[in-house]
Amino acid sequence: MSKLVAFAAIQGAYNIVSKAEGKYKRALETYGGSQKLEFPNTAYYLPIIYSLTGMEVTDLDSARRPLEFARKLLPPHVKKDCHLPYLGPLLDAGMAALFAEEIVEAIRYVEDPDFYQPEVEDPDVENGKIWLGAADDAIMRKRGVEFVDGTAPGFAAIVGAAPDSATAKKIAEEYQQKTIYVFMAANQNGTTFTEQLIEEDVQIGWNTRLVPFGPDISAAVFALGFANRAGMAFGGIAPGDYKRQLKYQKDRIFAFVNALGDVNAEWAANAAGCINWGFPTIADTDIPEVLPTGVCTYEHVVANVGHDEMPSRSIEIRGLKVTITEIDIPLAYGPAFEGERVRKDDLYLEMGGGKTQCTELVKMADMNEIEDGKVIVDGPDVTEKKKGDRLPLGIFVQVAGREMQEDFEPILERQIHHLINYAQGIMHIGQRDISWIRVSEKAIEKGFTLKDIGTILHAKFHQDFGNILDKVQVTLYTKDDAVDELTKTARAEYKHRDERVEQMTDEGVDLFYSCTLCQSFAPNHVCVVSPERTGLCGAYNWMDCKASYQINPTGPNQPVEKGECLDPKYGQWKGVNDFVFKASRQAVEKVNFYSMLVSPMTTCGCCECIAAMLPTCNGIMTVHRDYTGETPSGMKFTTLAGVMGGGQQSEGFVGHSKFNITQRKFLVGDGGLLRMVWMPKSLKEELRERLIKRGEELGVPDLIDRIADETVGTTEEEILPFLQEKDHPALKMEPLVG
């Protein structure tokens, strides 16, 4: 039956390419060849074309070559009798279709600039603007981290629409529970899966992993483009290296297509294109199947799959294993629900958030002191409250175990935020004594009680930290005095902890930790984390790595004997060098922990911030990935990240975490924080308190006010007068270069 697929897909590819050529011609007539063509705020041109052919499309003129290439790729039609082989031609036809569609979608940004909302994570459903289009780079990198750390193993590209909206909801929720992203495109006779979800009141957007790319089949290019950008950003794959790119996709990105509804020739062309990536198509209709394996890991096209089994069959066909812990609560549970909001209209009850106190504390306990699995609710439960009420809350988690250490308490405590957030219909914000929990009406309808929070924490702590703990007991206080009492204890505890962490130095420990958590995605990069240089993704500090090593001794965090100190100023150790040399397969000989100018650390591409040198200002700047504007380095974050990725040392640039900026050793080899002459305003605000404190330590208490931001300027020339006026300390420091 493959012949029918080939016949249809090749036909479809011809249609798509011809339509694209028509659209291109009209656009050329209307706007001229110099009309800019791009996916806004993305670094990789039109990413499918760029990643696979190396062609840089920047304007209509430069789109001509890939379009011609697409035309040339189109194979002859499949003859009825004694036809020539068609698998290779079929895949080429699919690729041609995708190249053409990528250009079509780029032209749409020109013709209808408001059609997509590239910079938001959640679409503006109320105003009918539901299509997101290409994820901008900030989103791609942020979400990319989830692909990297495994919280999102892949995505389901759903095209078309379910037979009814209830089925759509069911499928979407099952993927959410299985931690898989849903990328939505195309329509079935005008109905889209996205609109079906909206009809069912399901929250869509990046935050709930239900991403509405676009209403046409051509929007499939956003899903594939996302995947290829991940390959370039995290996999370090050179543009144009289509072999490695597509192998990376097949081996590491667990994506597949769900075709819902009638499959027309153009869909078939897109499905054929996806097979190049190793992404199979699973359909709910009776289309011809392609079962032999080879280009995809397992089957290529599977038909007639019922909606009940669609998600489970799909991930099996893609060769993916998703382990979901069943947690005995009445709510759906999984990372996909982490970003889900509880809006005012849905709100039943809230705890914390300024109106009442909400505090969390994890403490180590004696083995005999607590009872595993015990959940105590001390005070009124949510069921005893009316809609719109409030409660104070104190979450006190006691853990015991032979391997448990006091150092692990904050690590466990930090889990509470996302663990509670994973429950559908419950929203958690903040941490420590500024926590805030919102419970939706739907959750109450489903039977949620406070005890479920205890159940979640008990189950997940055991699951994720089973190696260090044996018992977990949770007490939930909802009476004001008890909550206040806990808050008092907790605050003393926080202070004690913070002081301890503050006092930790690189000199004070013998072991650093490696982090290869992201090697499934960024195989050429390795992090080494020290107490004063936290992981550049911001997710892991030294203590986390230490705990992670104890929890899983063969896991991604391994101790690295730092060995003899070769250079105290730049932060270079023999043991670390040896380790990096080996782990980078002899690509990197030495690294300096405290310098961006001399042998800096490499990055996987998912760093929180990138620092760059500003020679005219004799200083450095840094930019975080949420800031999409221009910077004085002449590059946006995304461009900077593009320059640095792939495990290469790029002198003059370094990736780091936000927290690292105010750590004492931050780039001390290059002059430290006093070199900092520019930061985005939002980053300054986020770090305000710590920046002031660190400024005081450095003898410049108003350092934060002397650092320029985008309101001052985004070029060195613009900010230099400001720095001079403010008498920025960097200007008086020894020359940065030379």
């Binding site: 290779g88 895949l91 080429d92 193993p153 090697q519 050429n524």
Partner: protein
């Protein structure tokens, strides 16, 4: 030499009833033409095969005529040998020595044929690279760049500023041409292309000391060693056979294929048709027969010239129809879709149609008797190669020179056209033609298994591993008048594909398959087991892949190497579930091919007969002992069904050794598995 009236008419009726045409040939076209030749009393090979039996002792391989004291005939007694085998030639040569020497001389003959063909191509290639001829040019630069490094030819140059730049393509071509041609006369070192074999295979050859030094040298050394009183140790003789055979398959033949691809284009799948029904009564029919594409490529171009078509019309024809026989046919089929008129045993029968205005021949497998058959018709036999003239009949010799190639070709075509009005006998063209798809170079297979972006042999390996495809059969070789035309070929292949063995074919076997309709994608559903049928359907391929001429058996070696490289099926060709076969072999070339398959690690079964049965110890060495040395060995099985099952049994043995004889479990990757993935 005058051979006046050795006309092909049968002189006397024999008392014995001749076998029915239906028992002599599998295909109806051949049956009809055998019947017609009998009606017209024209003697063909099919008649002579009845009247002349093969030599009883020669067939056992134990007749020695290497000196004038013999021939010494050492037949194996019917009852076999009890106790010590005391048979000896005058000089004391044992049956083993004699059979091994005869075997070796067949290897030498075969390797010489292929390699001399290759030399001719290399010379033409050099002429093209030197721009001494305008008729040939570098067509496939991609392939040139791919093979250049195998000859140690740089494809980039460093500019003044240290920048790496592409090297001039003409310069590359010239250096490749010189290096390639040097492989023949080289006296020391290694034939460079041998290194293309999988590394463990090459290392094994090195260890065994059988890496050839130069192509010609190894052939000459066989002739020396098999002279009276030289090499009298059959194992040592076989070692030299291995050198010469490797020099053929991985040297002369391979270089021929590569350079032909560069000059004429690497083949990609093409549709065409086969059997005598491709001839057209109202067209000038030119049969191109023989082995080299150098001439035939030019004839294809010449026949397309408007002036030639005009001339044909002037002579009363509607156009010009080309058709091929033997490997020339395969060469121009693979690259231009020129239809196949037939295989080796059909060369006389084509003339018997009365429709052939000229049969143009170059070298190899051209039966002298075509001249006699042609004399019964208006057909002109045109010999073209200085190495291959025919004394029988009234042949025309138009010598073909690469420097004046196109002009020569035009003369040939013109001669054929002008012969069209001379048709005298009734034209009877059998209404037999089958569609086919050919053109499966190993590059084309690579492309068709994944397209421009994902092309690789991985899907093939994957489906071998998962058992949809049981293994690979390389079924090749000649026709042999001692057995029914094509019956062995087709029976073996149908049995293989029925058991999910995908077949790679070349030479006259490929033409047999074409005639039987096995080269169509539709045949998969009819003849294949369910697994192979499904794979064929997925890729859109026939179950039997036509890879070219007999020189192109080197393509099969490269395909096997690609399979090894794609992974999952062992480290060497001898690990792969693959078996070779030549069910109807007859030529010395087949022995050379068979031996390079064996020493490349392939179990290789021949049909009909094998000239070693008079020397049981030597036979055992070839059929069994070689496996311990090379991982591949010879075998003989005349019964085509048993023949196929011996191959299948070997394939199963290899599957078991690889641990893929059981159903494969689906591996589902979790996070930990994904983190363990090696760096890309």
């Amino acid at each position: 030499m005058a051979t006046e009236d050795v006309k092909a008419k049968t002189t006397k009726k024999k008392e014995k009833v001749a076998p029915k045409p239906a028992d002599l040939a599998l295909d109806v076209a051949s049956q009809e033409m055998i019947a017609r030749s009998r009606e017209m009393e024209i003697e063909t090979i099919f008649d002579r095969a009845q009247t002349m039996k093969p030599c009883n002792i020669g067939v056992q391989g134990t007749c020695c005529k290497n000196c004038a004291q013999g021939p010494c005939r050492l037949p194996l007694p019917k009852s076999g040998i009890e106790g010590k085998d005391t048979r000896k030639g005058l000089c004391g040569a044992t049956p083993e020595t004699i059979a091994a020497r005869n075997f070796a001389r067949m290897v030498a003959g075969g390797a010489a044929a292929h390699s001399d063909h290759g030399r001719g191509v290399a010379e033409t290639f050099l002429a093209a690279a030197r721009k001494e001829t305008h008729d040939y040019s570098i067509k496939d630069t991609k392939k040139l760049l791919e093979i250049a490094p195998d000859f140690g030819v740089e494809i980039t140059v460093e500019g003044e500023d240290g920048q790496v730049m592409d090297r001039d393509i003409d310069e590359i071509a010239l250096e490749v041409a010189e290096k390639a041609l040097a492989q023949w006369g080289q006296q020391q070192g290694e034939v460079m292309t041998v290194k293309r074999a999988p590394a463990p295979r090459y290392e094994l050859w090195k260890k065994l000391g059988v890496v050839p030094r130069g192509i010609d040298r190894e052939i000459v050394e066989i002739m020396h060693r098999t002279h009276i009183g030289v090499d009298q140790d059959y194992e040592n003789i076989v070692e030299q056979c291995s050198r010469a055979a490797i020099a053929d398959g991985w040297g002369g033949s391979m270089i021929a294929t590569d350079l032909q691809d560069i000059l004429f284009g690497c083949p990609y799948p093409v549709k065409s048709s086969a059997n005598l029904g491709i001839l057209k009564e109202d067209h000038v029919n030119i049969i191109i027969h023989g082995h080299e594409p150098l001439l035939s490529e030019m004839i294809v171009q010449a026949a397309e010239l408007p002036e030639m078509i005009e001339l044909a019309k002037k002579n009363g024809a509607k156009g010009i129809q080309l058709g091929g026989i033997c490997c020339t046919a395969n060469e121009i089929l693979m690259r231009h879709g020129v239809p196949l008129a037939g295989n080796f045993l059909q060369q006389e029968l084509a003339i018997v149609t009365g429709a052939v205005d000229a049969m143009v021949v170059d070298v190899q497998c051209i039966m002298e008797n075509i001249a006699n058959v042609a004399d019964c018709f208006h057909t002109k036999i045109i010999t073209t190669n200085p190495r291959a003239k025919i004394a029988s009949g009234h042949c025309l010799h138009i010598e073909f020179d690469e420097h004046t190639a196109f002009e020569d070709a035009k003369r040939i075509v013109q001669t054929a056209i002008e012969n069209f009005p001379n048709r005298e006998k009734e034209v009877i063209i059998p209404d037999q033609r089958h569609d086919l798809v050919a053109g499966f170079s190993y590059e084309a297979i690579n492309y068709h298994l994944g397209g421009t972006f994902r092309g690789s042999y991985v899907p093939l390996n994957d489906n071998i591993i998962n058992g949809r495809i049981r293994g690979i059969g390389g079924v090749v070789g000649c026709n042999n008048a001692r057995t029914m035309l094509d019956d062995g070929h087709i029976t073996v292949i149908k049995e293989l594909i029925k058991h999910d063995v995908i077949v790679l074919t070349t030479g006259c076997n490929a033409i047999a398959c074409a005639k039987a309709g096995l080269l169509t994608p539709e045949s998969a559903k009819v003849f294949c087991g369910p697994g192979l049928a499904e794979v064929c359907e997925t890729v859109g391929i026939p179950p039997v892949l036509h890879m070219g001429s007999c020189v192109d058996n080197s393509r099969i070696l490269m395909a096997a190497t690609e399979v090894v490289k794609a992974g999952g099926l062992g480290n060497d060709i001898s690990d792969v579930p693959v078996a070779g076969s030549a069910p109807e072999w007859m030529s010395e070339k087949a022995i050379s091919i068979g031996h390079y398959f064996v020493v490349s690690g392939v179990y290789t079964v021949f049909g009909v007969t094998f000239p070693v049965s008079g020397a049981p110890v030597f036979e055992d060495y070839l059929y069994n002992k070689l496996e311990g040395i090379y991982g591949g060995m010879w075998d003989l099985e005349a019964d085509p069904i048993k023949h196929a099952h011996k191959m299948i049994a070997h394939i199963d043995k290899k599957r078991k050794a690889l641990g893929i004889d059981k159903a494969r479990e689906r591996v589902l990757m979790d996070m930990a598995d994904r983190q363990k993935l090696e760096a890309a």
